[in-house]
């Protein structure tokens, strides 16, 4: 087979033309993405709505409640049911839920900081709803870039993204929406082309998770497992304190029992941050979850009503002042 000995090799000029075409292709995709991203991505549409919804919540006269969380809160919390129940209990609140599936403390901090950490927008109360508040490495870099278009990137890069490659990815995501939203484009193309894409991915994900859990258990070191870090939660609480916003941690229900980390309880106690433990709600049974983790719409209605009652008792009623554990 011949290789590089022929004289019919491209000139630098020709190759620059090739690169120019590739750059034009990428620019075209980027422009297209900027036009259609709200339509093709429900998540992007949600993030795009945050600014307007934050304004709306800020303009309310009644006590403003902000719910932040992951998919447990996204599927499990119904703002309409919650406010109706609170109204029935004799109180008036304005509530909105800013939730993103798979999000964690880092994204919640920057969400709060981007949309609510100023005198005009600060809510009266924030509920952080999830089952886990540990510091995890930032995974959703593209989403974080989308979420923090209004924020100071240098601070974010220093504090949340320590790795050089992740920083480069973050900056690329900030500059190019097509790159930030590539996982959504990938998903929509593959699910249109590949049969059983969703089912196959779920099975694949379960097998890989099973393997990684087995590795983790085999390498488990109980001492290490107990020493979870909550520095990002503390950073959130510090920011809320700075703006005089009350914060409560809500442990969301799941179909199976899960333990709460003792160290988290101690640290919250020390800071006098209320913990609303909704892990076991009487009316919620395993049948209330569509996949064992996320509440069905019926389950969400039940939970939201129950949660409203807890909020009234713990935070809005004078009879039982917060915090209670």
């Amino acid at each position: 087979m011949s290789s590089s000995t022929s004289s019919s090799r491209p000139t630098l000029r020709q190759e620059l033309k090739v690169l120019a075409v590739v750059a034009c292709m990428l620019m075209g995709v980027e422009l297209l993405m900027r036009r259609i991203e709200s339509r093709v991505s429900a998540e992007y549409a949600t993030i795009s709505s945050f600014a307007e919804r934050a304004e709306r919540l800020a303009s309310s006269q009644s006590p403003r409640i902000l719910v932040i969380g992951d998919s447990l809160a996204e599927d499990g919390f119904r703002a309409d049911v919650f406010s109706r129940q609170i109204e029935q209990l004799g109180h008036q609140v304005s509530v909105d839920a800013f939730t993103l599936p798979g999000s964690e403390m880092s994204e919640w901090y920057w969400l709060f900081r981007s949309y609510f950490a100023d005198a005009q927008h600060r809510p009266d109360m924030v509920f952080l709803c999830s089952s886990d508040f540990v510091d995890y490495p930032t995974v959703g870099i593209g989403r974080l870039a989308t979420l923090t278009r209004r924020s100071n990137h240098s601070e974010l890069l220093l504090s949340d993204i320590p790795d050089f490659c992740d920083r480069a990815k973050f900056l690329k995501s900030s500059a190019f929406r097509s790159f930030a939203g590539r996982d959504r484009i990938q998903k929509s193309i593959l699910s249109a082309i590949i049969p059983n894409y969703q089912e196959g991915r779920t099975w694949q994900h379960n097998m890989l998770r099973q393997a990684s859990e087995a590795t983790e258990y085999s390498e488990a070191d109980n001492d290490l497992a107990q020493e979870q870090s909550y520095s990002r939660l503390h950073r959130f609480l510090d920011l809320a304190d700075e703006h005089n916003v009350a914060v409560a941690i809500v442990l969301m229900p799941m179909a199976y029992k899960y333990d709460v980390d003792e160290s988290l309880v101690k640290q919250l106690c020390a800071r006098q941050v209320p913990l609303v433990d909704c892990r076991w709600v009487e009316e919620i049974t395993p049948a209330s979850f569509y996949d064992g983790v996320h509440l069905s719409s019926e389950g969400a209605r039940t939970f939201s009503g129950h949660f409203a009652g807890r909020v009234v008792r713990q935070f809005l009623s004078d009879r039982e002042p917060a915090p209670t554990f």
């Binding site: 995709v29 097509s178 099975w203 097998m207």
Partner: protein, 473 residues
């Protein structure tokens, strides 16, 4: 510092900026410094190994060439060079394996063996640069190469960063003249480098990393969780994963070297179009198979001493080739399997002329290619399995429980989507019999191909990249 990481490209940008402004002697010094930084990035302690290997082989070969060196002295110097290289390799790569196996055997015989189990970190790419330096010592001893005079040049030959950690294993007579002489930049070097880098990135990031998710899921599945069809497709996925991973790395190495003014050999030439095992080994990891042929198979006698000796030599060469990949019975089994199919094909060739002569018409080529691909896949099963038991269970699963599940449809769709276009491109290259055929077409066609590569890299890179498989070797 992986070739597909941002940190590497930041590093390379700095290196090439300084390098392109320097004169020849300084260029070598810059490359040597860059190579040591590149290698030390994994673990600076590994640098001592590269440096030690370099110094020992440099000293041994200089002494071999010293006036008045007797044949016995030259031989003992060669032994020193080979033993020290193999000692590094043996200790870091095989100590725990053999210590564990010995303890097992002693325990079976009723003896309690308290052999030390050391926490040994395997230095990346140790097998590659060890083989490269050993070939130099052997070549000097045999008079096939003149010992290098400048230590810095030799150090760069050992540590040249594009091919240091995963090859290709370059021969002294090919690479050293390029180091010793000033770089010559020809028209098309930039284009050729770009082609190799882009194709390599595509193979690694798009093909290998996406196939890895399928492979890893099925190989991690417990008993009864995956069907035979899932298993078969996972083995296909692994065949393309390892090909994309390793040939992608080699391609990037070639492209980077080209931009620095060096020509590296082609390490892969469309291996899955091979029609027989011997054809496969002229297409897969060419630098290793050529090394094994020249420094092991031929010295053992090659095919010169009758059929039985030829078979023995083939089996020994492939067994050692298997063991070169790692200290595990699965690699030994893989080597033995490769040796066995080489012998079987040789026997068949003797029975009805050569396979190449028989496989002339295209239907026969297709059948031979499909058969060879599946034989290769059985080898990959041994190579990828955690242990021989898992390989056996999977083979049994494929034979006895061949059901097409939802995952099978997904896996098949993914393989076709990701690998299909690459195979079409490779078939076209194969037909043109020109490894850089894409550089000889109109620039618009190349722009279309590159746009596809970049589009796929932009949108279809998995969130988490897998490390290069061959780094562990």
């Amino acid at each position: 510092m992986l070739f597909n990481s941002y940190i590497f490209w930041a590093f390379f940008a700095i290196v090439i900026l300084i390098y392109s402004r320097a004169r020849h002697r300084w260029q070598n010094i810059i490359l040597l410094a860059a190579s040591y930084i590149f290698y030390g990035w994994w673990d600076w302690r590994f640098l001592s190994l590269v440096a030690a290997s370099t110094m020992i082989d440099f000293a041994c070969t200089r002494l071999m060439a010293a006036p008045g060196a007797t044949a016995a002295r030259r031989k003992s110097l060669l032994v020193v060079s080979i033993v020290s290289n193999l000692a590094f390799l043996g200790f870091f790569k095989y100590f725990n394996f053999f210590a564990g196996e010995l303890a097992g055997i002693l325990s079976t015989l009723g003896f309690q063996a308290n052999l030390p189990a050391l926490q040994i970190i395997l230095p990346v790419g140790i097998s590659f640069y060890t083989f490269q330096t050993m070939s130099y010592s052997i070549d000097v001893y045999k008079g096939r190469a003149q010992p290098v005079r400048r230590f810095l040049d030799f150090a760069l030959y050992v540590a040249f960063f594009p091919q240091l950690v995963a090859g290709p294993i370059e021969r002294f007579n090919r690479l050293m003249p390029q180091i010793e002489n000033p770089r010559v930049h020809r028209q098309g070097d930039f284009a050729e480098g770009l082609y190799h880098i882009l194709l390599g990135l595509f193979k690694k990031v798009v093909i290998a990393d996406n196939m890895a998710t399928i492979t890893n899921a099925v190989f991690a599945a417990g008993p009864g969780q995956a069907t035979g069809a899932d298993m078969l497709l996972a083995i296909y996925a692994f065949a393309f994963q390892i090909y994309g991973d390793f040939s992608g790395y080699s391609s990037m190495a070639q492209g980077l070297a080209k931009w620095l003014g060096f020509d590296l050999i082609y390490n892969f030439k469309m291996p899955y179009f091979a029609v027989s095992p011997s054809d496969f080994w002229t297409r897969w990891h060419i630098s290793l198979s050529a090394w094994l042929r020249d420094y092991l198979y031929i010295p053992l006698g090659g095919n010169r001493k009758g059929s039985l000796n030829t078979y023995r030599n083939l089996m020994l060469t492939m067994l050692l080739g298997g063991l070169w990949h790692g200290a595990s019975w699965t690699f030994v089994a893989w080597g033995a399997y490769q040796g066995a199919i080489l012998i079987i094909y040789r026997l068949l060739e003797q029975a009805k002329k050569s396979t190449r002569e028989v496989v002339t018409t295209w239907p026969r080529k297709v059948v031979a290619g499909v058969v060879m691909f599946h034989l290769t896949c059985i080898g990959w099963l041994l190579f990828r399995a955690d242990n021989l038991g898992q390989a056996w269970l999977m083979l049994r699963g494929i034979a006895t429980d061949f059901r097409f599940s939802e995952f099978s449809a997904y896996a098949l769709g993914s393989i076709v989507f990701f690998v299909g276009p690459l195979l079409l491109l490779e078939y076209w290259i194969h037909r043109r019999d020109d490894m850089i055929a894409l550089l000889r077409v109109r620039w618009q066609a190349r722009a279309a191909a590159y746009s596809y590569f970049v589009f796929m890299l932009w949108f279809f890179a998995p969130e988490v990249s897998n490390e290069f498989i061959y780094f562990q070797f």
